[in-house]
Point group: C2
Chain length 392, copies 2
């Protein structure tokens, strides 16, 4: 059943795509639909290559000194214009994971709680529990967290540091909350006086029209909401660059922390490099191209899975992001499905990694492989899972 | 008394050296000896300009993907060779302030204590107190923390998360602990089983021969010591890059945090760019040039201060780093000295900012101005402080 993949990478730098340089590499011979990575060929090497020289030519020593604590004005201004807020409501970060880490220490403290969706980003959970925060899980439906569940969770005690939500292209489920749902969630959190941290790492990767509703931050005018944005999923995680949107007072609190007063902007030179890309339309060109690439991959994978699996598995087509979330008959075993996929040479992410939701789910990333390989993976998976079902 | 400085900066990028882009600018007309900044002309714009393109050409997409959690092998290997340890004992960080922040959450938790020198880096203190850690201050002499004081502090209770020490080119005092002192401090901490965090941000900026003794980390073979290194003071803080040395088990704990597992290396592309500089000798050339520049500035400032102040003020000549630490007659008032300096158009850092040490001290940075301006500042200060003494 295993068909080792012997394709030689067409990239001249393939020898550096290895553990110890990058975080993880796919096992040889496996089509890897596991992690939320971009295929190496989708990373913007050519676009980023001139940027730092451009930034140093433009900004000179100001690009190498301590950057303004909230981030350098040029990128803040561009982000503010892009996301419809004031520059004072923007803070440059070193990515979503860094921003969430900062918030865990500023809003939280060991023993306090965070309200999270029962199924949500596993490493976001790790960051929170690493800081001694307890997770209070709430139920969700096809639009994410249900307002009534949120209300109940916030009524259980006043020890909640914040609510962690991903209303747009949720990881792993891919769900998008409608505008009405968003307003209801905002109202519930506001009534309890608890801030919302909106993880919007995939927010700009909408693949269909219309685009998703405005972010929680935009709907609330940033009041009571801290939105985390990232360039990790649109440009590359190696940049370690993101931003957050928040009320100016919150930005002031964050930028007044010793870490910021000491080190300044969380990634100064890189923020100016990305400002060069965003300032003259190159970022939008990149984004448009990447959306096309991801749409092709999503459509290929979803179509091939539906064709191969028939009605036995629910294959939702996400409107954006990197992932397809598969819902199996809950009587089927996740471990058996994973084993069968592995024997077929395909790696996927177990749904249980993302929380304790009832049912049997798997997450499949369409971001890390070519359309051909995705189609191949879907055929392998469908065959393996049909056989697995027959055997059990 | 105020002589406004009307020199036009010779730098073509001077318009960007302003608040909102960089963290802080000197007030107009003031010779600023306050912050631990490099003069813009000492920042390595030309050296850094080609590096990112070089890294992207060499590493391709691997420079933009998620970097290995502990940092990419190429920089870890170079740092290990440079600092005499194994690559497994190196972790790439986003600078000392980020590393200290991480350690506060991993080693500490609110309510626990950190043992610090009574006089020490003010923003290091802020980072620790931001995380709810209490500071237990110990006395120092001309070689920094006294082993007996450390022993006493560690005997007071078992709530100490770590000891924070700067044995090399201490900020602000400039002191260097001898090898014997270092071994004694290591022995005391080891006896109590408490880890030492060695802040070595200035460690490579030795201006005299012989070089300072080996780091605490080197003397201890990293056992029980976490040494924080930085490129902020040797290249530029805008890079947001540093490293730490620690036992492999400690590196494993740190790189297993959710923040790292999620985001990967703390500043991946930049780490590869700096590896290009370090790999072929350009970093050493830069360091050698920078040491010459700093030595000239230190010698100019120290000589001019001694000539102007005579025996009334103790002007120690530091063996490295960015700062001269002035010890005044303790009956003189810090506020009056600062006021007099301000009226003379010179900004300096009040000693009280760095802790509660008895006596009257000021910290003067020689890193942020040309030798001519440093000589000018020394003349202004000597005149102002003589007048202030006459008046009181």
């Amino acid at each position: 059943m295993v068909r080792p993949d012997t394709t030689v990478s067409p990239l001249p730098h393939a020898r550096w795509w290895r553990a110890g340089v990058v975080q993880a590499v796919s096992p040889p011979g496996v089509i890897d639909l596991g992690p939320g990575y971009l295929e190496p060929g989708l990373l913007p090497v050519d676009e980023v290559l001139p940027l730092y020289a451009e930034a140093l030519t433009e900004f000179g020593p100001a690009a190498l000194g301590y950057g303004a604590n909230a981030g350098a004005d040029p990128l803040r201004a561009l982000l503010a214009a892009r996301h419809g807020c004031a520059a004072e409501e923007i803070m440059v970060t070193a990515g979503t994971s860094q921003a969430l880490t900062l918030l865990c220490t500023v809003l939280g403290r060991p023993g306090r709680s965070v309200v999270v969706e029962r199924t949500c980003y596993d490493l976001g959970r790790s960051i929170m529990t690493d800081h001694g925060l307890r997770l209070r899980e709430v139920d969700a439906d096809g639009e994410g967290v249900r307002p009534r569940s949120l209300d109940r969770a916030l009524s259980l005690g006043d020890d909640v540091a914040f609510v962690y939500l991903t209303p747009t292209f949720h990881n792993p489920t891919g769900t998008v909350a409608g505008e009405q749902r968003r307003r209801e969630l905002l109202a519930v959190a506001a009534r309890h006086g608890v801030p919302i941290v909106e993880d919007d790492a995939y927010g700009e990767l909408n693949l269909d029209r219309p685009a998703p509703p405005p972010s929680l931050a935009a709907l609330a005018g940033r009041r009571g909401v801290i939105r985390l944005g990232s360039f990790a999923k649109t440009l590359g995680p190696g940049l370690r660059l993101g931003w957050l949107e928040a009320e100016p007072g919150v930005v002031g609190t964050l930028t007044g922390r010793g870490q910021l007063v000491s080190g300044g902007s969380l990634n100064h030179l890189t923020s100016l490099a990305v400002a060069m890309l965003m300032g003259d339309g190159r970022y939008d060109l990149r984004l448009s191209w990447l959306r096309d690439q991801l749409r092709l991959r999503r459509d290929t994978l979803v179509a091939a899975l539906r064709a191969g699996l028939g009605d036995s598995v629910t294959v939702d087509r996400p409107a954006g992001g990197y992932f397809v979330w598969l819902a199996f008959d809950p009587r089927r075993s996740e471990a058996s499905l994973l084993d069968a996929a592995g024997r077929a040479g395909v790696a996927v992410a177990p749904g249980s990694r993302f929380g304790s939701a009832a049912g049997t789910h798997l997450r499949l990333a369409y971001s890390l492989n070519s359309p051909d390989r995705l189609a191949d993976a879907a055929v392998r998976l469908a065959t393996a899972w049909r056989n697995e079902e027959t055997l059990r």
